[in-house]
Structure formats: structure tokens, C-alpha cells
């Protein structure tokens, strides 16, 4: 499953970069994240709970490892999620490019495999669900960045 797109963010790439490394900000970009802790400079671990429609309690243990870190331009993520309902793993690439003097365009692409019960039963919904979670995550991230940068209230 491929998820990709671009999204405008408020602030210059160095400012956005610092905020994206903050686990509390990163958690906002992943809807349903209950906790996310930076256990090493390049590794985060946490728990994500996804509830869509009839699925009310799909909980995943999440591990994210950053690779190819090139501040403030790009990084890659190795994503590993495991839970009672199945697993997801894959890679994601994030690139930040300056847009004018004060803004950044984030280009993201992820290639994720989803397996186990959730994939067997929910195959026809995976694409729609990933689009929904991506949209929710980016909007939440944008709100959080605005809040932290003293712009609009959250």
C-alpha cells in the first residue's frame, strides 16, 4: 500500500524539522497515538489505538526508527507496528522544502504492508482507511505546529 502526497506547513524547514523530531508533535501526526517516547536519538516507541466503524479497539505497539537523517531536508522512517489484529511494517520518506520565506512544503511517501486479521477482513477498506488517517494526521500536525509557533490557537 502506497501513501503519498504533499502538505504545506507553517514555518521554515529548520523550525519544522526541530518540531517534527519532538515525539509529542510526531504523535499528533499519527491519529490514535496513546503514547510515544523517544528512546534513542533515532528511535521512537509507543502505542497506537485505531478505531474506525465497527473496529473499536485495534491497538498496535509501534516502533519507528529514523534513517538517512539529513537535517533540515529529509529523513526516512522504518515503521513497525504489531497488535492482536495484525501488523503493519514498511518505510516512509519525508522531505521538507522551503516555500517562500516563511513556509515549508512537506513531501511524504510511505510504502506499508498490512497483514494479519485486519488485512484479511478489512482488505477492501485499507486504502480508504489509510487516506483517512493520513488526512486526520496532517491536519492535527498542522494545528499543533500552528499552536507551537504561536499562530492560531489549537
Amino acid at each position: 500500500m502506497i501513501v503519498e502526497g504533499t502538505y504545506p506547513l507553517p514555518g521554515t524547514p529548520p523550525v519544522i524539522w526541530d518540531l517534527l523530531m519532538d515525539p509529542d508533535v510526531l504523535a499528533k501526526a499519527m491519529p490514535g497515538t496513546k503514547q510515544l517516547v523517544r528512546i534513542a536519538p533515532d528511535r521512537y516507541e509507543g502505542v497506537m489505538r485505531v478505531g474506525i466503524g465497527p473496529i473499536t479497539a485495534a491497538e498496535f505497539d509501534l516502533a519507528i526508527t529514523l534513517t538517512d537523517i539529513r537535517p533540515p531536508e529529509s529523513y526516512a522512517m522504518q515503521i513497525d507496528g504489531k497488535g492482536r489484529f495484525g501488523f503493519t511494517r514498511g518505510t516512509a520518506q519525508v522531505e521538507l522544502a522551503a516555500e517562500g520565506a516563511t513556509e515549508t512544503v512537506m513531501r511524504y511517501s510511505a510504502d506499508l504492508q498490512v497483514g494479519g486479521k485486519i488485512a484479511a477482513l478489512g482488505q477492501r477498506l485499507l486504502d480508504s482507511v489509510s487516506k483517512l488517517l493520513t488526512r486526520q494526521g496532517l491536519e492535527a500536525l498542522n494545528r499543533e505546529l500552528n499552536r507551537r509557533l504561536g499562530g492560531e490557537p489549537a
Binding site: G53, I55, L125, L126, D127, S128
Partner: protein, 292 residues
């Protein structure tokens, strides 16, 4: 294949059911159980309590709508698909619904599954949400001590998401009378009959006395988060003398602009667009033939 433990309530009246739903925050209403129970058995859903609506006779059945909605039909939310399928009133007053119902799953499921349940579940591949949006139906939502009416178009808010608030229940659905000079059609493609549709489309076409399109409703299913109104195609049809060329143009707009379909192992987004193009053309063509 057994659900986790849950509390089970079986109220005898609607008031009792609404009180139970208000009281138990984690309770799910149980209608026909054709989606909820499998989800529980697979342990994807784990509600703390179920409120079984099976004994609420006041929510069952359908009737001719009275007074100002003369010519329409009012459905209790617990009316089964099978009751819709065999109702002469539905065949006469809501022929689009009658044409669609056979596409919904299989007879065994239609015997248990309910109209209100299907709408509240809001599966993006479900037929009845799209048909209710096409027919401009109105849903009655009730909670303890309060009632409101919501147009179907505003009821569906996203992927398995609706305007229902916690503690609120769909209790009735009203379908307005089909105006004069209207035609209708439903088309869908599935790998096997009864499977989830790859794409489906519900159409209502109304002409003015001069034969031009006065109002077109084109609603697709299985191409987005819920029923998708093809607004650009509808706008392109408005005011036109509808012919094969106009229909082909509208179908093209549906495929290229109105929808952003998902890809899955059953069908790619490109194939869904092609299906939407072909099915919309067929549905509009048949709707035009039926205008009377």
C-alpha cells in the same frame, strides 16, 4: 468465533431503549446484527453492552406517509430488507429502492438486516445509504427526550461515520414522493452477486414540462468514504435536453472529476473509474427511458 463478554439488554419499548443507551456509554444498539455480530465474533468490535432493538415493534414496518408528504413512504428503522423487497407500496412509491434491494447481500441476510441498521453502519460499499441520498430521504434521530430530523445527504459524514451522537438512534426514514416526470435506475458491479460492490450508482432524473433536466441525483457507492454525490455531473445535466451525448458527458465527469476511488485487491482505482463511467451511463439512460 465467539465474542468477548458483553452485557445484553432487551428493552420492550423505544423509551426504555433510549434510556439504556443514555445510561450505558459503551452500549451499541443491536438491529439486525448482520455487520455488528460478525465484527464482535472476529473480536474487532468489543462493545461493553448491547441494546437489542428486536422487540421494539414501533420501529418495524412501513406505511404510506401522511398529510404533507402524501405519496411518500415512512419506514420504521427496524424494517428488514426483506420487507422492503416484498412491499407493493415500495414498488409503487419508491421504485428505485425496490430495484436496488436485490443487490444487497443474500436473502438470508436481507431477512435479518434492517434499513436503519444499514444506514447507521454507513459502510462505504452499502447500497441503501446511496439510494437514500439519491431519493433525498430524511432520517429521524431520537435520544432520550429529544428528536431531530436530518437529510440523508447530511447524515453520512465519512468512513463508517454519521451524524449520530452518542445515545442517539435512527428511528425512522421518510422517502418523499417521486415527482412527476421522474425516472430512476440503480446499477452495480460486483465479482459475484451479493459481494461488496466494486462500484454502484443510484440515479433519479426529473425533467421539466419541456423535457429538459430539472433535477438530477447521481450518487455512487464504493468509490469513497460513503455515498458520493456526483455534483459536477449533476450540474452538467441541469437544464439540458438529456440525450445520449449529454449522458456520456455526465458519465465522463463522474469518472474523471466527481470521484477519487480507492484501490484494493479487488479493483484498481482506474478500473473503478471505468466502471463508474459505464454504470452511470447505463443508469442515466435507463432513468431517461422511464421518465413518465
Amino acid at each position: 468465533m465467539k465474542p468477548p463478554a458483553f452485557e445484553y439488554h432487551r428493552p420492550e419499548t423505544l423509551d426504555e431503549a433510549l434510556a439504556l443507551l443514555a445510561e450505558h456509554e459503551d452500549a451499541k444498539p443491536l438491529a439486525g446484527g448482520q455487520s455488528l455480530i460478525p465484527a464482535m465474533n472476529f473480536r474487532l468490535a468489543a462493545p461493553a453492552a448491547l441494546v437489542d432493538l428486536g422487540r421494539l415493534t414501533e420501529l418495524r414496518g412501513l406505511a404510506a406517509a401522511s398529510d404533507k408528504e402524501a405519496g411518500g413512504v415512512r419506514f420504521g428503522a427496524m424494517t428488514t430488507h426483506a420487507a422492503l423487497e416484498t412491499s407493493p407500496l415500495v414498488a409503487q412509491r419508491a421504485p428505485l429502492l425496490a430495484e436496488t434491494i436485490g443487490f444487497v447481500a443474500h436473502p438470508q441476510i436481507r431477512n435479518r438486516g434492517t434499513l436503519g441498521g444499514s444506514l447507521a453502519h454507513a459502510d462505504p460499499a452499502a447500497e441503501l445509504p446511496a439510494v437514500m441520498v439519491a431519493l433525498e430521504a430524511t432520517l429521524t434521530l431520537q435520544r432520550a427526550g429529544a428528536e431531530r430530523r436530518v437529510p440523508a445527504e447530511q447524515f453520512f459524514t465519512g468512513l463508517f461515520a454519521t451524524a449520530l451522537e452518542p445515545g442517539e438512534l435512527v428511528t425512522a426514514i421518510e422517502v418523499p414522493p417521486l415527482p412527476a416526470r421522474s425516472g430512476w435506475a440503480f446499477e452495480e458491479m460486483a465479482r459475484r452477486h451479493g459481494d461488496y460492490a466494486l462500484v454502484g450508482v443510484a440515479v433519479v432524473l426529473r425533467l421539466d414540462p419541456a423535457g429538459r433536466c430539472e433535477n438530477a441525483r447521481v450518487v455512487l457507492l464504493s468509490v469513497g468514504d460513503g455515498p458520493v454525490l456526483a455534483r459536477r455531473a449533476m450540474a452538467a445535466l441541469a437544464g439540458q435536453a438529456v440525450n445520449a451525448e449529454v449522458i456520456a458527458g455526465a458519465a465522463e465527469l463522474v469518472a474523471s472529476e466527481d470521484i477519487d476511488p480507492p484501490s484494493d485487491i479487488h479493483a484498481s482505482a482506474a478500473y473503478r473509474r471505468q466502471l463508474a463511467r459505464v454504470l452511470t451511463r447505463r443508469a442515466l439512460t435507463r432513468a431517461l427511458e422511464r421518465v413518465r
